[in-house]
């Protein structure tokens, strides 16, 4: 197993895909935090909950998104380029392939989440300081923002692996994940409130709650619930990979 994990981590290091993902993630974090932190009226940014939700929380949102894309691509890139064939010829026990991709993605996804949150915290603090707005969040809030984002990145990476293993095709998988997080959850479930209170328990909302953006749901509980989604996605990915032929 550890050999498969080391092979997977080497694959992750030897293309520039992950550098591109990190660059895209950080550029979006900076843009989102600075646009909100510098341009919103000051009265929207005075209390601690608002500050977490409107500026500090972007790290988690974008970290989770990019971690999920990374996780999905561990499978979709192999199908796209045909490397799935040599991968499975060397490791025909497919459960080991799924497990190694899950572990590698969880590790890298956690790093994505932490990095994204760290940059968001720095940029948010700078934006508020530039406008002489006092930061109203305490140590436990910072801990939730950073650790919650790390956990959400790890778990969303696992969700991405499951989606990638089931969908196999790169573009539909990546578009599907992005559309879910950026449109279905935020617009249909968030703004349009289509499912009411259940909207708090969608996987994207649980990631936000894990970083302290949802006053009604404790971060630890949110991570636990998000882990159930991750486990379900991983199981679906394992099932699809074990049962389906590879062309």
């Amino acid at each position: 197993m550890s050999a498969q994990l080391r092979a997977e981590l080497l694959k992750q290091r030897t293309t520039r895909t992950n550098l591109g993902l990190v660059a895209g993630m950080l550029a979006l974090v900076l843009a989102a935090v600075l646009l909100h932190g510098l341009l919103l009226p000051a009265e929207n940014l005075t209390d601690g909950d608002d500050q977490v939700q409107v500026v500090f929380g972007w790290g988690e949102v974008l970290g989770a998104l990019f971690a999920a894309l990374l996780g999905a691509m561990t499978f979709t890139a192999e199908f796209r380029h045909g490397t799935i064939r040599p991968t499975l010829l060397v490791t025909p026990r497919r459960g080991q392939v799924v497990a190694s991709k899950l572990l590698a993605s969880v590790l890298i996804g956690a790093a994505f989440g932490l990095l994204s949150a760290g940059v968001a915290v720095g940029a948010a603090s700078a934006a508020l300081a530039a406008r002489d707005i006092d930061v109203q969040i305490g140590t436990s809030d910072y801990a939730a923002v950073l650790l919650g984002s790390t956990g959400a990145g790890a778990l969303w990476a696992a969700i991405g692996v499951g989606v990638g293993a089931v969908v196999r095709q790169q573009v539909p998988a990546l578009v599907g994940i992005s559309a879910w997080l950026l449109f279905v959850e935020t617009v249909l479930i968030g703004d349009a409130d289509l499912v009411g209170d259940l909207g708090r328990f969608t996987p994207g909302a649980l990631g936000r709650a894990a970083s302290g953006q949802e006053p009604l749901l404790a971060p630890g509980l949110a991570l636990l619930l998000l882990a159930l989604y991750a486990a379900a996605a991983a199981a679906a990915g394992w099932r699809a990979t074990s049962r389906r032929d590879v062309a």
Binding site: H81, L89, V90, T91
Partner: protein, 237 residues
């Protein structure tokens, strides 16, 4: 008695309404080079995928060394296979591609440079695969198959994209591999090419076996391999 390097027994693969392989049985004696022939769509690649555990048979058995591929303990040390000529990430170097496979296969890292030298790719090893010609990709694929020093090689159309020198190299390599006790199953469309390389033939058409045996027998009486093939597959009418 040692198990045949490859044995297909009543092997059948159906995709919804299409029967790709039907009741196919053959086996390969060790130490031979066997040509796997058949028209496009005859089921050659499907058969190879079944043997290599990439696809599951609808019924029957596809065995390597008497076991299902997925149940081999160190598959890369028993079997090396190349199914497509371009199964590489374009941004990854040839060497890194092999390093990842070597780690997963539990093969010593030094073996990577050995196989690169063997297929004469050492000079290009650190370049991304997107800069490789088709012939170079064929050789990189072969290098990956050879990492584990396997006893059996399964190659699908390995001659595609090779120039005459590359073809000559491949032919000599396969002969040498068999002389050293290895077994080779190679599918190809290049009949004249195959006739100079193989000992045995397995010919299939529409998923069914049409002929199997030694090249000498099939081309007995001065008949060319091409004539024999066209007659057996009914392409000559």
């Amino acid at each position: 008695m040692t198990a045949a390097a490859i044995s297909a027994r009543s092997l059948t693969k159906r995709y919804r309404d299409v029967v790709a392989v039907e009741e196919l049985s053959f086996s390969l004696p060790p130490g031979t080079v066997t040509g796997f022939l058949g028209p496009n769509g005859a089921g050659k690649t499907t058969t190879l995928r079944l043997l290599l555990g990439l696809a599951e048979p609808t019924s029957g058995d596809a065995l390597v060394f008497g076991r299902r591929y997925r149940e081999l303990d160190h598959p890369a040390r028993r079997v090396g296979a190349v199914l497509e000529s371009n199964d590489f990430h374009p941004a990854r170097s040839g060497r890194d591609h092999l390093r990842a496979l070597a780690i997963a296969a539990g093969v010593a890292a030094t073996r990577v440079d050995d196989v690169l030298a063997l297929v004469e790719l050492s000079g290009a090893a650190r370049r991304p695969v997107r800069t490789y010609s088709l012939g170079m990709r064929q050789r990189l694929g072969l290098a990956g198959a050879l990492l584990g020093e396997p006893e059996l090689l399964i190659l699908d159309e390995p001659a595609n994209g090779l120039d005459p020198a590359g073809m000559h190299w491949l032919r000599r390599f396969l002969r040498g591999f068999a002389t050293d006790g290895g077994t080779v199953l190679v599918s190809s469309h290049g009949l004249a090419e195959l006739a100079q390389t193989v000992d045995e033939l397995v010919i299939i058409d529409r998923g069914r076996l049409v002929a199997t045996g030694a090249l000498d027998e099939l081309t007995a009486g001065g008949r060319s391999l091409e004539d024999a093939y066209l007659e057996l597959t009914g392409e000559l009418s």
